[in-house]
Subunit: 200 residues, 2 copies
């Protein structure tokens, strides 16, 4: 019995979006499932003293070029959205609700929300956009958003974020394979070797 | 007539060391030469507000694990040295002297100095260690170190560092292929496609 690949992401993280387009086929090649773990990178950035990539002098300019080139390299549709980055609390809370109450819709929602932001350029920090994407996914959007705003669900996201930091998740995408951590799209080849041949 | 691959590095940068072990065969596969450009990352870090990877909370712990795993993935001997990071002014100045006065020894010196630090664990911030590595390379160590300390050579390194920052080099290894920037060992596959098939 193998354990699932754990995939930590933030909906505003462009490299998380790129990874989200690659992780399912990769996992399938190695007979693994994927557990999607939404988190909020802002909280981790406070601990590590980092900030959004595009806001860092020198590195920011490069990262915009790198992102677009990575997307072309992988063959994934992509544009850098504006505004960027955006808050993803409503998106992440909605994701948790679906995972709890309507799990078959959770992964389709994740893909649609990433595409809404990084392909269609819609501002996913807005409740109205999250509502639309929930509806497009086939969920009861109003009910999900109402459940997302419940104190218990807010607490659940807070606990998930705290747990991610406790596990050392300082950026995204961040993966665990049998507790081995892999950070970044560019570690997928190493993760794939790990899955294929075991620890190296 | 093709242009050389430009390779910016700092002798205390472990990913630069890993790249230094891979760049020559990569360049040869595409009939390119390599121009080695020593720099001092500390100056770039002041501009970008970054600091040494291993000193960043959360990211530091991961980076030590990632470095060791990357080295195993690439099949390159490696250990994280102590102390780490170290100052590399004397090393970089000596490299510039060799590149100017005895260019056939410059690349062998670069490889030996990286190995001294990341394989043998010698403290390359010490003038005595740089002296030894120069001698092992077959250089007139005392003459190189004397030339390295000349005001004109100090200015040459300062100009090289300033130029690297002006070109956007915020970390290392950092490469340019026909002015296209690539940062990190993990961008070597993209650089290789660029070299093989042209811009994508």
């Amino acid at each position: 019995m193998t354990t699932p690949i754990e995939f930590y992401f933030d909906f505003t993280s462009p490299y998380s979006y790129l990874a989200s387009e690659m992780i399912e086929p990769l996992a399938a090649r190695h007979h693994r499932s994927v557990v999607y773990r939404p988190t909020l990178l802002g909280a981790a950035f406070k601990v590590s003293g980092q900030r959004a990539l595009t806001e860092i002098p020198l590195k920011g300019d490069y990262s915009r070029r790198d992102l677009a080139r990575c997307a072309r390299f992988y063959g994934i549709p992509f544009q850098i959205p504006a505004p960027f980055p955006v808050g993803t609390v409503t998106a992440a809370r909605s994701c948790l609700v679906l995972q709890r109450d309507d799990p078959s819709l959770a992964v389709p929602f994740i893909h649609r929300l990433f595409c809404a932001y990084f392909v269609q350029g819609r501002n996913i920090s807005e409740g109205g956009v999250v509502h639309s994407v929930l509806a497009e996914t086939g969920a009861d959007a109003a009910a999900v958003l109402a459940a997302a705003a419940q104190p218990g669900n807010k607490e659940a996201l807070k606990a998930a974020v705290d747990e991610s930091i406790a596990r050392g998740v300082f950026g995204a995408p961040f993966f665990f394979v049998d507790e081995e951590p892999f950070w970044g799209c560019d570690r997928l080849p190493q993760m794939e070797r790990w899955l294929a041949s075991g620890p190296f």
